[in-house]
C-alpha cells in the first residue's frame, strides 16, 4: 500500500477512521512523515475531528424524569421481613430449647419410670386411687376395734418405698435386676386386732429374659394388676399377709402366692400367659 496523488485522501481518511490494519497504518504513517505534502494533508485531516461541547446540556432535564412511586408496603417490606424473620428465629430458638428441656425431662421421667416401672408406677396408680380401705368401711358392720384416740382421726397411710440400685457395668437396653419392696402398711389400730391388713413384702422381681424386654414388662404389669386385685380382695380380711413370688425367668413365668393369716392359709402358683 503506497500513497499517491489519487488515493492519499482516501487512505488518510481510512487512517483517521481507524479502518486500516496496524501494519498498513504504520506504512502510511512512515510515508506521511517522509513527505511534507502528505504531512500537511494529514495535519488538516486530523483537524476535521469534531469534539462535542460538553458544556451544552439539555435544559430542564430533571423534568423529564418520571417519578417512580414505590408502594409503602414495598418500602417497609424489607424491614418488616427482617423483624418477622428475627421473631421467627427467636421463637424457634426458644421453642427448641423448651422442647429440648421438655424432652430431657420426659426422658428422665421415662428412664425413672422404666427403672421403677411398671410395678412402681402401677402401684403409685393404685395408691392414688380411692380404695376403700378398712378405715373407710362402715364401722358398724365390723367388730368395733378399740382405736386409740391418737389414731382415731389419722388417715390411712401408705408407705411405698421403691429402691432401685442399678448395678454398674450394665449395658444399654439390658434389663437391670432390681428389687422392689412394696410395703403396704396400714395403721395399727390396736395392739393385736388390726395389723397389716394387707401386706406385700419383698416382691422381688427378677429381670426377665433379655430378648423379651417388652414381654417382661407386660408380665410385670400383669403381676402388678394381680397384686392390686389381690389386695382389693383381701382388704377386709384382718391379719393376713400376702407374699408374692414372681418368677419371670422361668420358661413359663409365674407368680407364686402365699397367704398367711389367722384363718387363712393358702398358696398358689399362677402362671401368666
Amino acid at each position: 500500500m503506497k500513497l499517491n496523488k489519487e488515493n492519499y485522501e482516501f487512505l488518510l481518511f481510512e487512517l483517521l477512521e481507524g479502518n486500516l490494519t496496524e501494519e498498513d497504518a504504520n506504512k502510511i504513517k512512515t510515508e506521511i512523515e517522509a513527505d511534507p505534502f502528505y504531512s500537511k494533508e494529514w495535519e488538516l485531516m486530523q483537524q476535521t475531528i469534531l469534539s462535542p461541547e460538553k458544556n451544552i446540556c439539555m435544559p430542564e432535564k430533571e423534568a423529564m424524569l418520571v417519578a417512580i412511586s414505590v408502594p409503602a408496603y414495598k418500602i417497609h417490606f424489607v424491614s418488616v421481613l427482617k423483624i418477622a424473620a428475627s421473631f421467627v428465629l427467636i421463637s424457634s430458638v426458644i421453642f427448641y430449647f423448651y422442647k429440648q428441656r421438655s424432652d430431657l425431662a420426659q426422658q428422665d421421667r421415662t428412664e425413672l419410670s422404666d427403672n421403677r416401672d411398671p410395678i412402681a408406677a402401677n402401684d403409685q396408680k393404685i395408691n392414688n386411687e380411692e380404695v376403700p380401705l378398712i378405715d373407710n368401711i362402715d364401722q358398724n358392720k365390723r367388730v368395733s376395734p378399740i382405736i386409740p384416740s391418737q389414731f382415731a382421726n389419722t388417715k390411712h397411710k401408705r408407705d411405698v418405698r421403691s429402691t432401685q440400685n442399678k448395678p454398674t457395668g450394665i449395658k444399654a437396653n439390658q434389663w437391670v435386676p432390681f428389687e422392689m419392696n412394696v410395703k403396704k402398711v396400714d395403721l395399727k389400730y390396736s395392739g393385736s386386732y388390726v395389723q397389716n391388713v394387707a401386706k406385700t413384702e419383698n416382691l422381688n422381681l427378677e429381670y426377665p429374659h433379655p430378648n423379651a424386654e417388652t414381654e417382661g414388662k407386660n408380665l410385670i404389669v400383669k403381676f402388678n394388676r394381680i397384686q392390686k386385685t389381690t389386695l382389693l380382695v383381701l382388704r377386709d380380711i384382718p391379719n393376713i399377709s400376702v407374699k408374692m413370688t414372681p418368677n419371670l425367668k422361668a420358661k413359663k413365668p409365674s407368680l407364686g402366692f402365699e397367704l398367711k393369716g389367722n384363718t387363712v392359709y393358702a398358696n398358689a402358683l399362677i402362671q401368666v400367659k
Binding site: 485522501e9 482516501f10 481518511f13 483517521l16 477512521e17 494533508e41 488538516l44 485531516m45 483537524q47 476535521t48 475531528i49 469534531l50 469534539s51 462535542p52 461541547e53 451544552i56 446540556c57 439539555m58 435544559p59 430542564e60 432535564k61 423529564m64 424524569l65 418520571v66 417512580i68
Partner: protein
C-alpha cells in the same frame, strides 16, 4: 425497560441527543422540544424498548423527529432565512469555532453522519441504523464531510 432504566437513559443520553439536535437545527427551543418528544415516545413504548439498545433507539427517534422538523420548517422558510452566516458576522477565534460553523454548511446527511460519528462515537452500523442509510453511504458521507472540512480549514489557514 423499567421506569428506573428510563430515568437512567434520560440522565445518560439527554445531553448527547440535545447536542446532536442542536448542532443540526441550530434552534435551542426546537432542540429541546425534539428531545422531549423523543423521550416521550420512548416512555410510551417503554415495555418494548430494550435498555441495552436504548441509546441507538433514542438517537433514531431524535433523528427522525429532527428530519421531520427540518422538512416542516423548509416548507415555511426560505433558504436564506435558514442559512446562518459563518464568516461574515463572526471573527476568527480558533479552529474549533470555525469547524462548528463549517459543520452547518454540510448537507444534512453528511452533518448527521459526522456528528454521530464524532460526538457520540457511533460506528458505521449504528449510524446507518439511526439515519436509515447503508453503511457504505454513511462512510461516504463522513468521507465527504471530512474532505469538505479539510479543504475549508486549509483555505482559511492559507488566508491567515
Amino acid at each position: 425497560m423499567t421506569p428506573a432504566q428510563y430515568n437512567q437513559c434520560v440522565k445518560d443520553h439527554a445531553d448527547g441527543i440535545f447536542r446532536f439536535v442542536l448542532k443540526s437545527i441550530k434552534d435551542r427551543d426546537e432542540a429541546k422540544n425534539i428531545v422531549q418528544n423523543t423521550f416521550e415516545k420512548v416512555w410510551v413504548r417503554i415495555d418494548s424498548v430494550i435498555y441495552e439498545k436504548a441509546k441507538s433507539y433514542l438517537f433514531t427517534i431524535a433523528y427522525r423527529e429532527m428530519i421531520d422538523h427540518i422538512r416542516y420548517t423548509k416548507k415555511f422558510m426560505s433558504t436564506e432565512q435558514m442559512e446562518e452566516p459563518v464568516y461574515k458576522q463572526d471573527t476568527y477565534t480558533g479552529t474549533k469555532e470555525i469547524l462548528d460553523k463549517l459543520v452547518n454548511k454540510l448537507p444534512e446527511n453528511q452533518k448527521s453522519a459526522i456528528l454521530l460519528r464524532d460526538y457520540e462515537g457511533h460506528d458505521y452500523k449504528t449510524i446507518s441504523e439511526i439515519t436509515g442509510m447503508t453503511e457504505a453511504q454513511v462512510k461516504v458521507n463522513i468521507f465527504r464531510a471530512r474532505q469538505f472540512l479539510k479543504e475549508c480549514i486549509g483555505k482559511i489557514e492559507t488566508l491567515i
